[in-house]
C-alpha cells in the first residue's frame, strides 16, 4: 500500500478523530468495528478522503465491512484515484 496515503490518513485520524497524536495506530487495526471511531465520524472521514485524495466514498459504502482499517481505506483510495 502507499505509505504516503497511509501516513496522511493516520495523521488525520489521530489528530482530528482520536485527538491523540501519539496513538500507536497499526495499518490493520480495526477502527470502526472496535468502536474506536464512532459512526458520527464516518462522514468526516469521507469528506477528508474526498478533499485530500479526490476520491468520493459513496454514503452507502461507508461501513465497517468496507473501511475498518487504514489499509482498507488506502486500498480503496488507490483503486479509485
Amino acid at each position: 500500500m502507499s505509505d504516503e496515503i497511509g501516513a496522511k490518513l493516520k495523521d488525520y485520524l489521530k489528530s482530528e478523530i482520536l485527538h491523540d497524536e501519539s496513538y500507536p495506530m497499526a495499518d490493520d487495526e480495526p477502527l470502526i468495528s472496535s468502536g474506536l471511531i464512532d459512526s458520527f465520524s464516518l462522514v468526516d472521514i469521507a469528506l477528508f478522503v474526498e478533499e485530500t485524495f479526490g476520491v468520493r466514498i459513496d454514503d452507502n459504502e461507508l461501513t465497517a465491512d468496507n473501511f475498518d482499517t487504514v489499509a482498507e481505506l488506502v486500498k480503496h483510495i488507490e483503486a479509485n484515484q
Partner: protein, 565 residues
C-alpha cells in the same frame, strides 16, 4: 369511547380517508415504500396473525429487535392489535464485540419475560445472541422472523378493532445507555393520548402536518414524536433509518423538500452535524420553507448550535425563528415543555459564578466577562406542573437552580417489574427528573444532570461504567480513575474525558502512549462511545471528597479549568 392505540389505528383505517397517505419509508439504497392508513393497519394485522399463531395474547410482552422501519411499524402495531405490549429495542451496531449490549439485553429478557422476540433477517443473529442461556426459572421467548413479504398485501379488511381497557399498559419504553439493568417505562393508552392531545395543542398540530424523522424508534423522541403522534392522529410521517441518516445527513433535508415536511425533532448535536457535514452539492434544490419548526430536544441545548444551523440553512428557508426547543422524557410519555412555534427560542446570558457557586440564574449582558448562555425549553404544556426543588426537596422560587420535579395526569404507570425504581422516582406525588434547571417567567431552562450522566450524541453514558472499564486496563489502578463529560461546543454535544493516576509517572512517553491507547481500546470495546480525552496524571492529582472518594464534579472543574474549556 376512550381511545386505545390499536383502536385509533382501526378508526383511521376504516374511516372516510382510509386511503390517505400515512407513512412513507425512505431508504438510501432502495425505492421508498408508501402506505395508506389502511395499509399500515393491514401490515399490523398480518403481523398480529403471526404473533397470535405463537400464542401471543393480551398483556404479553413482545420485544422488537428489527432494522427495517416497515417491519418495526408492523410489529409494534401488530402486538398492539392483540392487546399485547410492544417494546422496541436497539440492535447491536457495527461493533464486532457488543458484549455490553448482549449482557444488558439478556438481563432485560430475564427480568421482563417476553412472550416473543420479533426480528428480521438483517439482524436476526443479533437478536438471537441476546437470549439468556437456558436454565432453571428462565423463560425464553419464541422467535418471530418477519419479512416485508409476510406483512405487505392488500387483500384483506381490518377486523381487530382494538377495544379494551384504556388504562392497561400499551407499551414499554426502555431507558437508553445503561450497563446496569434497564428500566422499562410502562405507559398506559390513556396517558399516551392525554400527552398527544396536550402536546399537539402546544404545536398547533393538525393532520396537514408532515413529520420527517430519522430518529430511532427505541428512543422516546423517535417513538412518540417521530412515530406515534403522526400515525395516531392521521398526519403524514416520512421515516428514514438512523443508520442511513448518519452517513448521509442531507437525506433529512431532501426528504423535507420532496415531501413538504413541517416538523422534525432533533437532538442538539444534529444542528452542528447538519451545518458542518453536508456538502453544498447535496443541498442543490433543497427548500426548507415548508417547515414550521425544527425542534431541539433530548440533549442539553446550545445557543451556538442554533446559530450555526441558522447561518447555513437560512438561505434554504430555515432561519432562527424556525428553531424551537422542547424538554421531554419517557416518564411523562414525552413532552414536558415546548417553546412557541414560529419564534426563536429565548436565550439568557447568565453570570457563571452565580450559576456555579450560588445556584442562581442571574442575567447579565452577553459581553459580561464570566458569562454562560442558557436556552429556554419553553413553557410547560397543558396539564403539566413543574417545580424546582432544593436538596431537601422544598420548592424554590424562580431563578433558583435545583432539581426539576413534575406532576401531570399522563405519567408512567410504573417501571416494569421494578417497584423499587418506581418508588424511588417519586416524592409526594412529584416525579424527580434528575435534571437541574430553573424557571424564569414561566419558562423552563434545563442546565444539566443532577447525577454525573454524560450525554454524547444523544446517547446516555454513565461515568461509573467508563471508570469500571478503565480500571481493568493493565497499569491503571482501580479507584484512581475518573470519567466525566466535557462540553464540545463545536460539535454541539459532550465528549467523554478520562483521567487516571499512574504510579510510575516517569515511564517513557512511548509506554504512556500505549497505556493511553489501551484505555481507549478498552472503553471502545466495552461501551457505546469513544473517549476523546485520556489524561494520565501522577499520584495525588485527583481531588478527593472528605470521605476519600474521587470526586467527579471537582475533577471535572479542575480539568476544564486546566484545558481552558
Amino acid at each position: 369511547m376512550a381511545r386505545t392505540l390499536p383502536g385509533q389505528l382501526f378508526t383511521l383505517a376504516t374511516g372516510a380517508e382510509s386511503a390517505r397517505e400515512a407513512l412513507r419509508l425512505i431508504y438510501s439504497d432502495r425505492d421508498e415504500i408508501v402506505l395508506s392508513r389502511k395499509e399500515v393497519y393491514l401490515a399490523a394485522q398480518r403481523t398480529a396473525e403471526q404473533l397470535a399463531a405463537l400464542g401471543v395474547g393480551a398483556g404479553d410482552l413482545v420485544i422488537i429487535v428489527q432494522q427495517d422501519s416497515l417491519l418495526l411499524t408492523a410489529s409494534f402495531f401488530g402486538a398492539a392489535l392483540l392487546g399485547a405490549i410492544p417494546s422496541i429495542m436497539p440492535f447491536a451496531s457495527e461493533k464486532l464485540h457488543p458484549d455490553r449490549y448482549r449482557n444488558a439485553m439478556s438481563a432485560l429478557i430475564k427480568l421482563s419475560e417476553p412472550a416473543v422476540l420479533a426480528t428480521d433477517p438483517a439482524v436476526e443473529d443479533d437478536a438471537r445472541a441476546i437470549l439468556p442461556e437456558e436454565g432453571e426459572g428462565i423463560h425464553l421467548p419464541q422467535i418471530l422472523v418477519l419479512t416485508p413479504e409476510s406483512v405487505l398485501g392488500n387483500s384483506d379488511e381490518p377486523r381487530l378493532d382494538g377495544t379494551f381497557d384504556p388504562d392497561v399498559v400499551a407499551l414499554l419504553q426502555h431507558s437508553s445507555g445503561t450497563t446496569g439493568l434497564q428500566k422499562g417505562v410502562a405507559l398506559a393508552h390513556r396517558a399516551i393520548f392525554e400527552q398527544l392531545d396536550q402536546y399537539s395543542k402546544s404545536l398547533d398540530f393538525t393532520t396537514d402536518d408532515v413529520i420527517v424523522s430519522w430518529l430511532p424508534l427505541y428512543h422516546d423522541m423517535g417513538l412518540i414524536a417521530g412515530f406515534l403522534m403522526p400515525l395516531l392522529t392521521g398526519a403524514r410521517l416520512v421515516l428514514m433509518s438512523p443508520f442511513d441518516w448518519v452517513r448521509a445527513p442531507h437525506m433529512l433535508l431532501q426528504a423535507i423538500t420532496a415531501q413538504g415536511g413541517t416538523l422534525t425533532w432533533l437532538p442538539n448535536f444534529t444542528y452542528n452535524f447538519c451545518a458542518q457535514k453536508i456538502r453544498d452539492e447535496n443541498l442543490e434544490g433543497v427548500d426548507l420553507s415548508s417547515m414550521r419548526a425544527f425542534i431541539n430536544c433530548s440533549e442539553p441545548i446550545y445557543d451556538n448550535s442554533h446559530r450555526l444551523f441558522a447561518e447555513r440553512f437560512e438561505p434554504y428557508g430555515a432561519g432562527i425563528e424556525k428553531l424551537a426547543t422542547c424538554y421531554a422524557m419517557a416518564e411523562t410519555v414525552f413532552g414536558v415543555t415546548q417553546s412557541k412555534i414560529g419564534e426563536p427560542a429565548r436565550v439568557e446570558w447568565l453570570d457563571r459564578k452565580a450559576l456555579r457557586e450560588d445556584l442562581q440564574a442571574v442575567p447579565v449582558e452577553p459581553d459580561y466577562e464570566n458569562v454562560e448562555s442558557a436556552v429556554s425549553s419553553g413553557k410547560p404544556i397543558g396539564g403539566m406542573n413543574v417545580r424546582v426543588l432544593d436538596p431537601d426537596r422544598n420548592p424554590l422560587p424562580e431563578r433558583r437552580i435545583g432539581e426539576i420535579a413534575l406532576n401531570c395526569s399522563y405519567m408512567l404507570t410504573e417501571y416494569h417489574r421494578r417497584p423499587d425504581a418506581t418508588e424511588e422516582a417519586f416524592h409526594e406525588g412529584w416525579y424527580l427528573t434528575g435534571d437541574m434547571g430553573y424557571v424564569a417567567d414561566g419558562e423552563v431552562f434545563v442546565l444539566g444532570r443532577k447525577k454525573d450522566l454524560i450525554i454524547v450524541g444523544g446517547k446516555n453514558v454513565y461515568p461509573r461504567d467508563i471508570e469500571m472499564l478503565v480500571s481493568k486496563v493493565d497499569g491503571i489502578h482501580p479507584g484512581r480513575v475518573v470519567a466525566f463529560g466535557a462540553p464540545n461546543v463545536g460539535a454541539g454535544t459532550e465528549d467523554v474525558a478520562v483521567i487516571a493516576e499512574i504510579d510510575d509517572f516517569d515511564m517513557p512517553d512511548e509506554e504512556k502512549s500505549l497505556l493511553k491507547a489501551n484505555v481507549r481500546r478498552k472503553v471502545a470495546a466495552g461501551s457505546d462511545v469513544a473517549v476523546r480525552y485520556v489524561e494520565l496524571v501522577p499520584r495525588g492529582w485527583l481531588v478527593k471528597t472528605s470521605s476519600g472518594k474521587v470526586s467527579r464534579s471537582a475533577n471535572r472543574l479542575k480539568f476544564l479549568d486546566e484545558k481552558g474549556l
